[in-house]
Symmetry: C2
């Protein structure tokens, strides 16, 4: 039977689990792969200190779809949900301390928390905003929208990765940042 304390909000329970003593702590070196394309995602990562890029590999190189830094929670979400091989890589941009929760733990938290669907609605809203970001024609508008959501992005992530995330060249990003 669930105790009162279990019936916390999903996000609170998740954060509590990431702070628990038995969480898996790992440090990745720059270039280390947290999750590889083709792998079925079984982890949820909390970035304690460092930075990661989530990208899709195409003929023209890597397309960054997400950037994570101190405080970010992420994984290869489609694969985590639908148990299909990940289309994405997650890679450390520099030395990165990560806490890992296993899928079984998340399923347990889902079952014993309230507000999981509200959590998902929020993830979905963020995802819809990202889609609209990508469709903005003007590079400066794309930058503006992202900085509104992530004002500290440049403190944690090298400019060249932010440029890829925003679908522009590093030169363009430098220029509009300084204008």
């Amino acid at each position: 039977m669930n105790t009162e304390i279990d019936k916390l909000n999903f996000t609170q329970n998740l954060l509590r689990k990431f702070e628990a003593e038995d969480v898996v702590n790992t440090t990745y070196k720059k270039g280390d792969i947290l999750t590889a394309e083709g792998q079925i995602e079984n982890n949820l990562y909390f970035i304690e200190d460092g930075a990661v890029k989530v990208y899709y590999q195409s003929e023209l190189g890597e397309n960054i779809i997400r950037l994570g830094y101190n405080g970010s929670i992420l994984n290869s979400l489609s694969s985590f949900f639908n148990r299909q091989p990940s289309e994405l890589f997650i890679e450390a941009i520099r030395e990165t301390k990560v806490k890992i929760l296993k899928r079984s733990v998340i399923i347990d938290i889902k079952a014993n928390s309230l507000g999981y669907s509200e959590f998902l609605e929020n993830v979905l809203i963020q995802q819809l905003e990202r889609e609209i970001d990508l469709l903005h024609d003007s590079p400066s508008q794309r930058l503006e929208r992202v900085l509104k959501r992530s004002p500290h992005l440049f403190q944690f992530i090298p400019l060249k990765y932010i440029a890829s995330y925003l679908r522009m060249s590093p030169e363009t990003l430098s220029r509009i940042r300084n204008s």
Copy 2:
């Protein structure tokens, strides 16, 4: 108290409500707006017969982010969840018969169904696929990915709107379709 029959799956209950006698039936003419930018979304639309485009308006014109046709269920989802003004327009591409459920009905279904979070997870997976679609460099790959999900798209939607949705010119879409 909920009867057994209420504790159906969220999607089943949703479809059942769309088939109920008291659902709001409306017919929109070509160019009619179902939901306007700036409006708070209170509806969920089921496209019974016809076609709609969901788009964001920028200086360069409209950017289509979703296309709906017979059987589609859609609305301005961020606005529906977060009660902020919609960034999107939903507009009939041709005469379109639509069934409308009000937000209060959806909230009631959520409360009395199982599997709402699984429903959201699936919407999220589709949304993540759309993001990766947008990042594919090759127009023919973008088309291929979309046709895998929506094989009947061209039966319902004029080519120029599909081209906008795929971020390519109508000429490019014509060419790769015939090659």
